[in-house]
Symmetry: C2
Subunit: 388 residues, 2 copies
Amino acid sequence: MNEFKLVKTSGTARAGELITKHGTVTTPVLCPVGTQASIKALTPQDVTNVGMNMILSNTYHLYLRPGIDIIEKMGGLHKFMGWNGAILTDSGGYQVFSLSNLSKINDEGVTFKSHIDGSTHTLTPELAVKYQESLGSDIAMVLDQCVAHDADRAEVWAAMVRTHQWAQRCLRAHKSEAQSLYAIIQGGIYPELRKESASFLTQLPFDGFAIGGLSIGEAKQTTFDITQTVTALLPADKPRYLMGVGAPEDILECVDRGIDIFDCALPTRVARNGALYTQSGRIDILNATYKKQESPINPGCECYTCRNFSAAYLHHLFRSKELLAYRLATIHNLFFMSDLIKSTRQSILDGNFSSFKNAFLEQYHPTNETTRLSQKKKWLASRENIVH
Amino acid sequence: MNEFKLVKTSGTARAGELITKHGTVTTPVLCPVGTQASIKALTPQDVTNVGMNMILSNTYHLYLRPGIDIIEKMGGLHKFMGWNGAILTDSGGYQVFSLSNLSKINDEGVTFKSHIDGSTHTLTPELAVKYQESLGSDIAMVLDQCVAHDADRAEVWAAMVRTHQWAQRCLRAHKSEAQSLYAIIQGGIYPELRKESASFLTQLPFDGFAIGGLSIGEAKQTTFDITQTVTALLPADKPRYLMGVGAPEDILECVDRGIDIFDCALPTRVARNGALYTQSGRIDILNATYKKQESPINPGCECYTCRNFSAAYLHHLFRSKELLAYRLATIHNLFFMSDLIKSTRQSILDGNFSSFKNAFLEQYHPTNETTRLSQKKKWLASRENIVH
């Protein structure tokens, strides 16, 4: 079991420390996503160098390939992928819902067909816990039932009730002393269901609480409002994790609402499409503007990419579809996020988070992609053209 | 102008030093290929770390994209790609022949259509020199006329005569003091034409001599025989460069025949297909044998990949088409080649190259791919499935 220390608050924003077997992780923290036991295009050394010390990996993907047994035989996920920092694993609930061909779901668990080869598999709360214990992650998640963002109230309620039953079964099944287990609060966009879910789950001895089922297509203001509704009900001494959120502006809004932990594939995925973060917003490196730009993409940035290469070189690598493009872009975006998170934490320690947030948001202009779903749709539509 | 020092010979094998503005390059040397101003999947730092200190880049590709003017504006190729070691550029002669849609060739030069967008361009000996001077490479190559490996004698002779005329024009056009200019000996598989070409070109004040038009589809023994025929006629005090050769066994055979410099896309290209070098030959990491192998792909190897990752992890990355796969594999193959070259040089310094070569070849079993052409055909056939 890992320990969480709340170090300082600034308004409702929190600075903390998560002490794990694989080092102390300062919070707020953003976990880059290593779906298949690899942060795409980076070595573990690169991930450390950009300043990240906790990553997320996916039980669903690792179960299908290479198989949990293989990773266990190799000494666990840390050793398998050569990563000595902390690892958070999700349970597979969201992937079963969003990626696989879901064939059956009932109180017992979920039966689905693999998105890789169509083979049939079953996942139960007990298996989700067992697999994550075998992987040896520092933080494991309960199995939850996810529904679409536009599901009706009755459907959301039923999934929430089942999620609660499964959370209790996960708690009973969980044996590892070294691993934390977090509950996932569901309830869709319905504040009263969210309150019910938070009340129910916070009665149980979980090590932390996640908010699931957000950032899947609802309006951004809804994401923020629901987050605020839930965090108001969470115990101060336990970490709070908002699943799947990670755009710069959204992180600041949700730190403001009391979130400690984030994960998001966005910074790495958009990097591979040539969308690079700067203080004033995302730029598209494929734009002809950069063809002759001798300065780096984000002058003053101290990442490996900006210290060593011009925007013109990055532009050339993307135009030429050189593999190095994806790595340099990923390094830049993760460094940018890591830097943003560090400055955010410092502002909380200094007691001026609010003015830090306002100053950042005044300068930063996100693109018009307002929801994770619209990004996902665009991504799916263009997946033949990009490098996954 | 760079200086070449012949340090030691062991039989006809040579150990030397090439002193350039970008450091001293010990020979024999293999230049990894950075066609588009990037060694695919690697940063310049990675290239240094595997022990390589001279790379090859392609005037043809850089001329088409991003354009010679852009690179010149960025301060030259070294600065553009962030590489502080030595650079050898080829003139584009071979690419015009093998990649573009060749529309016209006459004594003046060659007109071709871009393989990227079909636009029409002209390359002359004078332009080939000018472009390479603008790139600022340490070693530039003359423009030569290449023909197919099965061209008849008359065609080979005519191309050779034109190559000689063009070589003289390149020499007249070449102004850079900092850059060497090498001639390219042609003559196909005809020993008497090769002798004529070597005799003609060695009368001219070139800084080094390359052997072109080999390893393009002829039998391997022919490659070796022609190499031997030519090197016997070359001056001892000038570097000799065998273009496009780079398989481990071929390098040893051609060092034995007096070659100092090699370039080859093979080690990096096969790496991206999962073919990894070991002392006993190439292995296919996608093979199910490696699914559960806890030891590295080449136990005892001190490359970053073997020091940090199991064969099982590499196997998983390749199966999952993770970008990191291509980088780790490339690092391993280049480290292997760099190590082989270093041991080769040491054996020459120790005066026992011949026994080193025999011991290596006894253990190493190359695959059945006997010629660069057959590899190229396979590669072209499978290009939709691999990462270029």
